[in-house]
Symmetry: C2
């Protein structure tokens, strides 16, 4: 396959057929007026092709402000394709093609990019995740079951020593994974280098004692040089993960970091609501996470079931499954690890396993761990027991009968998820 | 000033006051539950502050899907502020703060970031545009008046020789500026290096003859190494500008390119509709262009008056003025050059000058130049004459009486802009 395919949901005041033709023209050789040197041969060689049009609905008013008048707005799906010859296997340039100047076209009154299918050349030209699920399990020593994690809170305001004290509690409680908040990177109030040194002293000491090293995702978001420096600080202190807010650094930032990095890259999707909150404009995470996996993300946030944000559970499920789905059929799956978070407790564990169709995920809980009556150890234990309940085919209630940490979680957090 | 201020338009099912408090908490030290170590001291040191709340409207239904039920959705504006101590003068990390996990909060049913005010520390820590208006004028030899430019079309499909042939026509016609289409970067069908060599042979020869070198913005969008290599190819061939699709490379990409570059950076905003098309979710260009100027963009796209897209003229005007407005009051204005484009002809020149409040802009026309009956030379001349008409205080119609190129433009394109 040497063509790129992109699927869109869209709405149009001029029929989906005309809208599809406009997008195909605008996003390839065309312009509004056909030019003398845009020959048929050039069109057939470089033009985008409308592969499919499915009208699903007709509405009387436009979903987004639209300067073309109509009383008939067709809504549905289209599939377009492009020859790879025009942009090559370049992620930034593909993005300009499939998600460039189309959202503002007058011929659409709603547009969402739903999916992108990449030819194999992208697998060869782009790095993909260096660690993924297997590499993350190897570094943490968590061979089976979901990895249990948490986020350092308060998000900002702790100094390096206070952060390390909190991490000491967490590792003592047996946590697998800890991450910085996305608001905490390298500000003057909690410089990255001091934080890494203080935290890794605690983590390394615990690893020496227990033989199992908690993975801490340090937020090194910044410009390229800052990220490289941050990565080196983490690696040299014995750290095993770096975190970056992907929308804040961009695809070129992720690619550069991946090429430099010796550690798994934990991709935070802060700002994702901008792409996802409206049903009428945006990009589906099914499409979006593919770009970031190709660029090198090992862990990708997918929100959580019954989360505190606006995302419904079916969307969370689709995202988690997408992150775990092979990207290419030639053996290069480039699978990454989905990260569930936001208001998570032991109660969401069975649903998360079912949603992911797998136990190959990270689940980060805040209150669900720190708010457990048995402290961090009780919180972590309750989440492991919830996964064990699933593995043994029992309901949480039944399994809790002789598993006190889980029982305490059900008692404490039971009201939260109905 | 050591605080960052951000203005939002928002709508909320729980009152603007509660929504503002939620955003301020979520985007600083807070989480949904107040934690034991989130002391009052920590809050006052690291917390975001709600500076202002203005309710402008109350609606009965939510503008975006929202899982919190209500029959009263307040809509209006809020202003928040953050201490710079928490993130430092880092653009990527500031972005995670002011445009991070807030768009998906259940407490908002619409949210747009309208403006950001940066403390002076950002001017010191970030490069800003190296060339801006003055540097671009110096390189092109266009001392006064708008710079007249065009885009190579068809967007894709021409090989390097065909591209150079088209550029030969354009420079012969006296054009000031030429840019690649954002869909044309470094694909196998028209490799960047060959294109640069072929095009610059033509441009350099013309410059030797006329003493005036047309500025060609070569699209070097790609990963960091590709962009650096692309920049070097352009510079070494005597080129004077590079173009990058800013949303495709991200802030870290722009910062890295700026630190490497010896040439003005032409920032293309392909994909901008995602941020701007909905009245209920997104980021205003008034806010957004500030990030990219700080990161180093010299030219910033602002769409054009009477454009072929969905953006109304008042939004184009606000964007153009924003790009030309000083960013800091300490003498570091970091002004960039607005770029008008999309369906432009001589007819939009007076309006564009009025909109920008200045002649310090680039205006790119396709059909308005290549479709002029006098060819490229006639098209370019008609646009210069339109600017001259403004300078002499005459209407286009009056000035066209003894300026045939302008007269032809009015005759040919007159129907287009009513």
């Amino acid at each position: 396959m040497t063509r790129i395919f992109a699927d869109y949901e869209l709405e149009s005041p001029v029929s989906l057929e005309r809208a599809a033709a406009t997008i195909a023209g605008e996003q390839s050789s065309g312009t509004f007026v056909r030019l003398p040197n845009e020959t048929d041969d050039l069109r057939s060689r470089s033009g985008a092709t409308v592969e499919q049009i499915v009208v699903e609905d007709v509405r009387k008013t436009p979903s987004l402000p639209c300067r073309l008048d109509s009383d008939r707005f067709e809504r549905g799906r289209i599939r377009l394709s492009w020859p790879i010859e025009t942009m090559g296997p370049s992620l930034p340039n593909l993005l300009a093609t499939v998600a460039g100047n189309l959202f503002e076209l007058a011929e659409v009154s709603a547009l969402r990019l739903l999916d992108v299918t990449f030819p194999d050349a992208f697998a060869t030209a782009n790095p993909g995740p260096a660690f993924g699920v297997a590499g993350t399990r190897a570094l943490t020593g968590v061979d089976t079951g979901p990895m249990i994690g948490t986020i350092i809170k308060p998000s900002v305001g702790l100094n390096p020593t206070q952060t390390a004290d909190l991490v000491a509690d967490l590792v003592r409680g047996g946590i697998d994974f800890i991450k910085d908040d996305e608001l905490q990177a390298n500000g003057p109030a909690c410089p990255l280098e001091e934080r890494v040194q203080a935290v890794m002293r605690v983590v390394n000491r615990d690893a020496d004692r227990t033989g199992k090293k908690a993975m801490v995702a340090f937020n090194i978001t910044g410009d390229i040089d800052e990220m490289k420096r941050g990565h080196d600080i983490v690696r040299d202190a014995g750290g095993t993960c770096i975190m970056v807010s992907m929308h804040c650094v961009g695809l070129a930032g992720m690619l550069a970091l991946r090429r430099h990095s010796d550690l798994p890259i934990h991709a935070h999707r802060a700002g994702w609501g901008l792409y996802s909150r409206s049903p009428d404009i945006g990009i589906s995470y099914v499409a979006w996470q593919k770009f970031w996996r190709l660029a090198g993300a090992d862990h990708l946030h997918v929100n959580g079931l019954s989360n505190k944000f606006s995302e419904p559970d079916d969307s969370v499920q689709a995202s988690a499954r997408a992150v775990l789905s092979p990207l290419f059929e030639n053996g290069q799956g480039l699978e990454a690890m989905p990260v569930f978070s936001s208001g998570q407790t032991a109660l969401q564990l069975p649903g998360s396993i079912a949603a992911a169709g797998s136990q190959d995920f990270l689940i980060c809980a805040g209150g669900g761990i720190m708010g457990h009556p048995g402290g961090v150890a009780g919180g972590v234990e309750s989440m492991r027991q919830a996964a064990d309940a699933v593995a043994s085919g029992q309901s949480l209630g039944d399994y809790a009968q002789d598993h006190p940490a889980l029982a305490k979680a059900l008692e404490t957090f039971g009201g939260r998820v109905g």
